[in-house]
């Protein structure tokens, strides 16, 4: 005769409500772990997907994800000439916030090195990659933009031609992929008056430089857009991504590029670690600590519930002891109920979470490792909660039935 099952059937309403409550609590623990994992994944997603071997960034900076990195696009040509380099491409990223259909929309723009990179590697769930050099965009679905929808960015209008899944920036904004030229146009868009003032300032500045004094025709170029006048304009790309030929020693190529005075170079893994230790570290640690607290609180609440469940049955346990029941009968009753409660709560947490997590504003990634870890944690909590209850049950004097 299974006493635990019978007790649960008798107190089904209370048991169910307790299981749902604990399930929701465990779901939050699971969700917090998922958010933690999501931040980590989102942060490194672009680096992983771009699949480059080396990242060339502005000298003495830690790359575009950690701080502002501005690099001359000419570095791309220089990198191409290094022995062992298969290809080099420009990379631009910046975040804009615009009004779209009456609502604010934050877009993390990534420039693809058109025409070499048309975004064929993107995880596109509908539509297609970029197929023309201008005014097309592949947007992540979290931006809420549909295929064919048009978005004004700066002076131009861009049409959404593809939608990706789970392409999020480290800040949690959806990514939009444009060609490098379009990404720069959006980044450096300014009103006419500002452009005129900029050109005048540039002309005055150029007039005083030795370079222009020796070559006066350069002054005429000061009126062109910044990215078209590399000789005197500002460096504009965020980084240059380098892919190596097969079997080429990464360190060797890196050391060659590292010798250039105007750049700093990182391997993809170094760039990944810089990102994890930099911008996302604080958020990660905060959520990590919150998660630890939540697990501790859940453990206390679960243990108390399990202990209270035992206290509720203390008279029956005393009676069983009076009747001569062996310890394992009483321990079995307490343990089975605890593990049933923990197990049902865990299953509820999983299924409720599976339904709710997709609606969270940031990605919640629940991995198998995490599920196994949580199951183990629930089992440990059940054992702790039980041990208190069992200790109490074992200490019950059968005499209590007589009182």
């Amino acid at each position: 005769m299974n006493l635990a099952i019978r007790d649960i059937k008798y107190n089904l309403g209370r048991f169910s409500l307790t299981a749902v409550g604990l399930g929701l609590l465990l779901m939050i623990v699971m969700g917090m772990g998922g958010i933690y994992k999501g931040i980590e994944e989102d942060a490194t997603l672009l680096i992983d997907r771009l699949d480059s071997d080396l990242w060339i960034v502005q000298n003495q900076t830690r790359g575009p994800f950690a701080e502002l990195s501005r690099l001359s696009p000419s570095v791309e040509d220089r990198a191409q000439t290094v022995p062992g380099v298969a290809n080099a491409r420009r990379f631009v990223t910046h975040t804009v916030q615009r009004e779209h259909l009456g609502r604010p929309i934050r877009i993390s723009i990534v420039g693809l090195s058109w025409p070499m990179d048309q975004g064929d590697w993107l995880p596109i769930i509908s539509g297609r990659p970029l197929r023309q050099g201008h005014f097309e965009m592949v947007a992540d679905r979290t931006l809420g933009l549909a295929i064919g929808q048009q978005v004004r960015l700066g002076k131009d209008i861009y049409r959404v031609v593809g939608v990706t899944a789970n392409m999020i920036s480290s800040g949690g904004d959806g990514l939009a992929f444009l060609t490098i030229a379009d990404a720069l146009a959006v980044q450096f868009d300014s009103v006419g008056e500002a452009t005129r003032l900029e050109r005048a300032a540039r002309r005055n500045h150029a007039a005083d430089t030795d370079f222009v004094l020796s070559q006066p025709r350069m002054l005429e170029r000061a009126d062109l857009p910044a990215h078209m006048i590399p000789a005197i304009g500002s460096p504009v790309v965020s980084a240059i991504l380098v892919n190596l030929k097969p079997s080429v020693d990464t360190e060797k190529v890196k050391s060659i590029i590292d010798g250039w005075a105007d750049v700093t170079v990182y391997t993809a893994e170094e760039q990944r670690q810089l990102l994890l230790q930099g911008p996302v570290d604080r958020a990660r640690r905060q959520i990590g600590l919150f998660r630890v607290l939540l697990v501790a609180i859940s453990a206390i609440i679960m243990s108390l519930i399990l202990y209270t469940m035992t206290l509720d049955k203390i008279h029956d346990i005393a009676l069983l002891k009076l009747m001569g029941a062996k310890n394992r009968v009483i321990t079995g009753l307490v343990l089975q109920e605890a593990f049933l409660l923990g197990g049902i709560a865990y299953i509820l947490a999983y299924f409720i979470g599976k339904q709710l997590f997709p609606f969270f504003p940031r990605r919640v990634i629940v991995t198998t490792d995490m599920l196994v870890w949580l199951a183990f944690a629930v089992a440990v909590i059940c054992v702790i909660g039980c041990s208190l209850g069992v200790r109490k049950a074992m200490g019950v004097n059968p005499n209590e039935v007589l009182s």
Binding site: L319, L322, S403
Partner: protein, 249 residues
């Protein structure tokens, strides 16, 4: 050659129980000696605080005495506070308990409340169910076997509790004011039930009671006051009592 007589269901020899020490010392039992034979139905009377529950819990192997011997079925099981046998096993196999409240497990049906007692003794399956149903039928609650205690009347609950106590054929049935929660008619029925059980099952029965109206169903009456145990002698009509000290066999 005549066969040796069966040993008494229970025998206590100079059983004493003291709570606390020094200024706070309370003597609950003073050298209480008694014998209950198998098939004998005995009532235990006494005012509140006289030590009835202490005696019952000592005999029930729940609360050890400070000194004295307890013999069950002729075997010494307690020598003062020292247990000489596995008390839990003895409770399981030799003793049955009935309380003031039925103390049925609320989440088990009437049948299951009897079955749990058998299960604890290692009797399961069909034989257990047959035995439990026989007991419930014999006590007139067989038709309520599937009901939870909350669906039974007080009298029915107490009958189920008696069935549970009898499930393992105990040599001694201990009842602590089993009729206190019942009306006089039901109370008498339950007392008569104990009489029948004692005589039919050849079990010793000790019933702690305040109800002197049903004393005629008992073979003997013991009286406990200030921890001193004595034998009641009553006249058939008035049930008036005198209290000579119990003569041990």
């Amino acid at each position: 050659m005549s066969s040796s007589p069966r040993p008494p269901a229970i025998e206590t020899i100079e059983l004493s129980k003291t709570y606390g020490s020094g200024n706070t010392e309370v003597i609950a039992l003073r050298k209480a000696s008694m014998t209950i034979e198998r098939g004998e139905v005995v009532a235990l009377l006494g005012p509140s605080g006289s030590g009835k529950s202490t005696l019952l819990s000592a005999i029930g192997l729940i609360n050890p005495p400070t000194s004295g011997l307890i013999k069950i079925d002729g075997k010494v099981v307690m020598d003062g506070p020292k247990a000489l046998v596995d008390l839990r096993r003895y409770r399981r196999e030799r003793l049955g308990f009935v309380f003031q409240k039925s103390n049925l497990i609320p989440f088990l049906s009437a049948l299951e409340n009897v079955l749990i007692s058998l299960s604890i003794s290692g009797i399961e399956g069909r034989p257990a169910k047959r035995r439990a149903m026989e007991l419930l039928d014999s006590l007139g609650v067989g038709d309520r076997a599937k009901n939870l205690p909350s669906a039974l009347s007080g009298g029915q609950q107490q009958r189920v509790a008696v069935a549970r106590a009898l499930a393992n054929n105990p040599s001694l049935l201990l009842a602590d004011e089993p009729t206190a929660a019942l009306d006089s008619k039901l109370g008498r029925q339950v007392m008569e039930l104990f009489q029948r059980i004692g005589h039919d099952n050849q079990a010793g029965v000790l019933v702690v009671t305040h109800d002197q109206r049903a004393l005629d169903v008992f073979d003997r009456t013991l009286y406990l006051e200030d921890g001193v145990l004595s034998e009641h002698k009553r006249t058939p009509k008035t049930s008036s009592v005198c209290k000579p000290h119990l003569d041990r066999e």
